[in-house]
Amino acid sequence: MTWGAIRQHPSLYIGLIAAAAFALLGLISLWWTPYPIEQIAIARRFHGPMAEHWLGTDHLGRDMLSLVMSGTLTSFVVAALGVLIGVGLGVPMGLAAVAWGGALEWLVLRLSDLTFAFPAIVVAILIAALAGPGETNAIIAIGVFNIPVFARVARGGALAVATQDFVAAARLAGLGNWAIAVRHLLPNIMSLLIVQGTIQLSLGILAEAGLSYIGLGTQPPATSLGLMLRDAQSLFLIHPWLSVVPGLTIVFVVIALNIAGDGLRDAMDPRLRREGLAHGAG
């Protein structure tokens, strides 16, 4: 990256750096937080921001900054694994639909229709009914939601690529469907996937927050930004600060990711503008 590129797409770098900063903050919490997050000290509860506790303490006297750091990590990890599931299953589905066509394409489309019929929360409810709530629950729910999104994005992008003459040239050169999908289709839809991945990551963080907030996601003693909001729920009329800190953190992380996504889209390929938040309804 050069200064020229940064000046051309300032939002991309602002977004990327901000998102990376939050991710780093979360990563650090693996080794170090200002206070242990499970350390309960009722005597020091409901403090506002102060020198020892930059972001204050919660209803159990735990350090809010430590909680936010650890919670951010959980949110990122859950959302990222959800994206990974979506990419891992959705992209091959989309590519296969284009490379093979015919009955396989029909099957992929019906499968993705079917998955669209299950909003993330319904999946989470089903799993919670079976196996109880937990982080894994949130990851699977978000992952299932992401599968048809990536399948459609990959198929849409690959369809446009497949009409290009170079794909016909590759067929003439004797390449099979699989080789065409890997050598020609995938590299040409990579930028699309990266942009969509960023958007889905931010949606995943929002979804994790929602699921944990209603008790279907992360469970104590672990923490996540959504779980912090759940804890603050019964107290927020008296101690609004407890909900402001995790809430604002979510907002900042999501804005950073979205700005990075928009910036990536503009920087990589102006043609991609059409896609975008089309799947952002979850």
Binding site: Q164, D165, F166, A169, A170, L172, A173, G174, L175, N188
Partner: protein, 519 residues
């Protein structure tokens, strides 16, 4: 007083000029043609006259219409444009609102011309004038053919009885026969209505046939202008001379004599598509290619001509093995096949050059990798052998091996088409199928590429199957011509014979649609 006067017009985007220092006058009643290749700034010049340049453009210089500068107020400019200028654009599909009926779109123009009381009588008259039927008014754009859509555009442009008609490449998206009828319609209307015409085209022959005055543009500059006969009869600028030379296609002498033994035999080949539908509503199947039989001798150059949708591309796709025949089969060098079942080694014996050099290379792959791809067909080759094959192919088309490390976007259209030919040669095929090999190229490059193809044919004893709608190119290249219509071959013969005495209705129509040679 001139109807349009441009003085020192400069249009720039982000500091880079696209049109620079352009001055010209179009007198009332003139038919002014601007000739130029893609990127010459000819369309921008037209948009500047109508005040339709994109907002990102910075404009200096002066544009006067009827002695007055264009109004600065957007609404006044728009209304002036609506009343006094009619415009017809290149792509009639995207230039019409897909959600509005043709009649509604014309009526909107009538309302804007403030002639609404006359609208009842105006619409049928206009439709008649451009050769549409009254029933077409109720259709949506996608329900009309390309030619009909362009007629609707012309009707819309005529509503306000404009003083100036701007036609920007109005026929280049249409097929040959339709092109000619639309050109004739524009000529006829301009004559009848005494309308001034600004006609923009890359086709020197269309301009010559239509216009009384011409300007030649290159890289944003007007290199020459004057009366059509003067400019095209005795061009002063070197560039004009080159354009003229390129528009005349000389017969490429066949240096080798074709063998009689057939290299490829196509036997009763059909391709049938099931139409959309359901049970008893199903439409009859479409026979895109219908029992076609012909042969191509070793070293022979055969051309397949016909209007768009006649099945020539489907036929070519089956021959190269991209699609399979529904009935019948082909025999290449003694081995029968139906299409996709073409075995690798046989596949190496034929290749295809695509029409569009911009989409025929993977933008994420180096040219070397793209060119080496067909070598898969020959089984495992050593690195040295591969490099030798690539060098041979690249040098055969007059380029250097150093270029193979670069990516497609670093090449011009002409270079890419050369590289596409190199890729087609890399397996040392005996038959090369050329799908409109020069129609996506700028006129000035076409001659070189055709010359290259003839030289390669002579040097390597190649057979060609050329798919094209361009009769002049076909006449210059082919030993034998097949004319195709609705999936069938309707006429066959040597170019000299066929074009001198066409028998079939379609061949005659194609010949009649040809524009006369320049000068």
């Amino acid at each position: 007083m001139a109807l349009v006067e441009l003085a020192d017009l400069t249009i720039a985007f982000g500091g880079r000029p696209a049109v620079s220092g352009l001055s010209l006058r179009i007198e009332r009643g003139d038919r002014f043609g601007i000739i130029g290749e893609s990127g010459s700034g000819k369309s921008l010049t037209a948009l500047a006259i109508a005040g339709l340049l994109p907002e990102t453009a910075t404009v200096s210089g002066e544009v006067q219409f009827d002695g007055v500068p264009l109004p600065a107020d957007e609404r006044a400019l728009a209304r002036m444009r609506g009343k006094r200028i009619g415009m017809v654009f290149q792509e009639p599909m995207t230039a019409l609102n897909p959600l509005m009926r043709i009649g509604e779109q014309i009526e909107e123009a009538i309302a804007l011309a403030e002639l609404s009381e006359a609208a009842q009588t105006l619409l049928p008259g206009l439709l008649g004038e451009v050769g549409l039927e009254p029933g077409h008014a109720a259709r949506f754009p996608h329900q009309l053919s390309g030619g009909q859509r362009q007629r609707a555009m012309i009707a819309m442009a005529l509503v306000s009885q404009p003083e100036l008609m701007i036609a920007d490449e109005p026929t280049s998206a249409l097929d040959v026969i339709t092109q000619r009828t639309v050109l004739d319609l524009i000529t006829e209307i301009c004559t009848r209505r005494h309308m001034t015409l600004l006609f923009i085209s890359h086709d020197i022959r269309a301009v010559a046939a239509l216009c009384s005055r011409v300007g030649v543009m290159r890289a944003g500059k007007l290199v020459e202008q004057g009366d059509t006969e003067a400019v095209l009869g005795a061009p002063k600028a070197d560039y004009t001379r080159r354009l003229l030379a390129a528009s005349r296609m000389d017969r490429q002498a066949a240096l080798i004599k074709p063998h009689d033994r057939p290299l490829l035999a196509v036997k009763n080949l059909s391709r049938v598509y099931q139409q959309a539908g359901f049970w008893f509503w199903r439409n009859p199947p479409l026979r895109a290619v219908d029992e076609v039989s012909f042969e191509i001798g070793a070293g022979e150059c055969v051309a397949l001509v016909g209007p768009s949708g006649c099945g020539k591309t489907t036929l070519a796709r089956m021959i190269v093995g991209l699609d399979s025949a529904s009935e019948g089969h082909m025999v290449l060098d003694g081995s029968p096949y139906r299409g996709r079942d073409l075995p690798p080694l046989l596949r190496a014996g034929l290749s295809l050059v695509f029409q569009d050099p911009f989409s025929s290379f993977d933008p994420r792959m180096s040219m070397g990798d793209s060119l080496a791809e067909p070598l898969h067909l020959l089984g495992r080759l050593s690195g040295e052998e591969q490099a030798a094959r690539l060098r041979e192919a690249v040098e055969a088309v007059g380029l250097e091996t150093g270029m193979l490390k670069r990516y497609p976007h670093e090449f011009s259209g002409g270079q890419r088409q050369r590289l596409a030919i190199a890729r087609a040669l890399v397996t040392r095929p005996r038959l090369v199928v050329l799908d409109e090999p020069v129609s996506a190229l700028d006129v000035s490059l076409r001659g070189e590429v055709l010359h290259l193809l003839s030289r390669l044919r002579a040097e390597h004893g190649l057979s060609y199957l050329i798919i094209s709608h361009d009769l002049d190119m076909v006449a210059a290249m082919a030993d034998r011509v097949l004319v195709m219509e609705k999936g069938r071959i309707v006429e066959e013969g040597t170019p000299e014979h066929l074009f001198a005495a066409p028998q079939h209705r379609l061949t005659r129509a194609l010949m009649a649609a040809r524009l006369p040679d320049v000068a």
